[in-house]
Symmetry: C2
Subunit: 213 residues, 2 copies
């Protein structure tokens, strides 16, 4: 397999709902993309360093040079996903806090997912289900939770300063919204109906009645 | 192994956060308890009909008489958990809707879990992560979602009739609360901090400001 042919996008992805792409010049991005491809194909339990190396222009022993074992590699994979997520979340064009917050929910909890986004969420849920058995996975999921909570709390605090939001407890509201995002993202891949239209309507009603001044 | 020695409780459990027990006279309950024991020990991927039969006073071929394969058995396992859950949720002693709803959250989203409750949630999350690959699992998780939503909507409607709750859209509020419950239950087993104290505080604040008249 030629280097780079397995990338899903040719430049840095700005869609935080899909697996982030990367440059084929960067070995780490190459390994992460190969790990994602192998995870989609084989799932966590059947995944091996050999199967990941099969997706790369490098040998299994070269892969072991970079990562001690499958779980160290998957922990790095989660870290990579979070870094890309954090970089994308920080890019906000909207000026006012309400528009920022609504745009944020459109990105992390869209009403519909396409197939590649659905596949990405399936992989993340499988790794999340392994977290009880791996402290290093839990630490990465802690980082995602903290990132989501701090981002939302920041928007709320900005909205309170701009006097478009009521003077709510920003950390408390953010914690509730993070749980709601988590639940929506898990539910959509584990039940028959993948649409989150009704939940997003409920979320919009919450913003209108609870947050807006 | 002697029949019955692997049950966690000797009579019908009333704790919906743990694996429901059953009577050792009932073959279905015996198989379900054996499935749960084997799931805790081996996880989904390494689980086999042979390993489940090992926990039972019956042969692997006898187990195949009851269930076609591992996934049919696990789908039945989820159905069994839901039936027990539904039976327990329907037992409500409280007279007023607010007390009913708060008691419901204390049961489905308690602030702390003991070890056996934690283990049960780990097993449920692992099966949920398999749902994208198994339609029969998704159908069972659909039933859980519907049960939770209808139960909560029922409490809210009762509260509106009793004039202790505001005239909110009960289905919309219930949908938001189900996502929040799901998120809290998933987060607590996949991150470092298992306590849900802060989320429960946020939920109580939501009930006070959004639902109470």
């Amino acid at each position: 397999m030629q280097a780079g042919t397995y990338f899903f996008v040719t430049s840095h992805s700005t869609d935080i709902m899909s697996f982030p792409g990367g440059s084929s010049d960067d070995p780490q991005s190459e390994i992460m993309a190969a790990t994602y491809t192998a995870l989609c194909e084989h799932g966590y339990a059947a995944l091996s360093m050999a199967k990941i190396a099969n997706e790369l222009p490098m040998s299994k022993s070269s892969l072991y040079y970079h990562y001690d074992d499958k779980d160290a590699l998957l922990s790095a994979f989660l870290g990579y996903v979070i870094e890309e997520f954090a970089a994308d979340v920080s890019v906000v064009d909207e000026q006012d806090a309400e528009a920022q917050l609504r745009a944020f929910f459109d990105r992390v909890l869209p009403r519909e997912l396409d197939e590649s986004e659905h596949e990405f969420h399936v992989v993340l849920l499988e790794l999340r289900a392994q977290a009880p058995h791996h402290e290093s996975f839990r630490e990465q999921f802690d980082r995602i939770d903290t990132l989501l909570r701090e981002t939302i709390a920041g928007y709320i605090e900005t909205g309170i300063e701009q006097e478009t939001f009521r003077a709510v407890d920003s950390n408390e509201s953010a914690r509730l919204l993070v749980a709601l995002i988590r639940g929506g993202r898990v539910d959509r891949v584990s039940r028959s109906d993948r649409s989150l239209g009704a939940l997003r309507d409920a979320l919009d009603a919450y913003l209108d009645s609870q947050l807006l001044a």
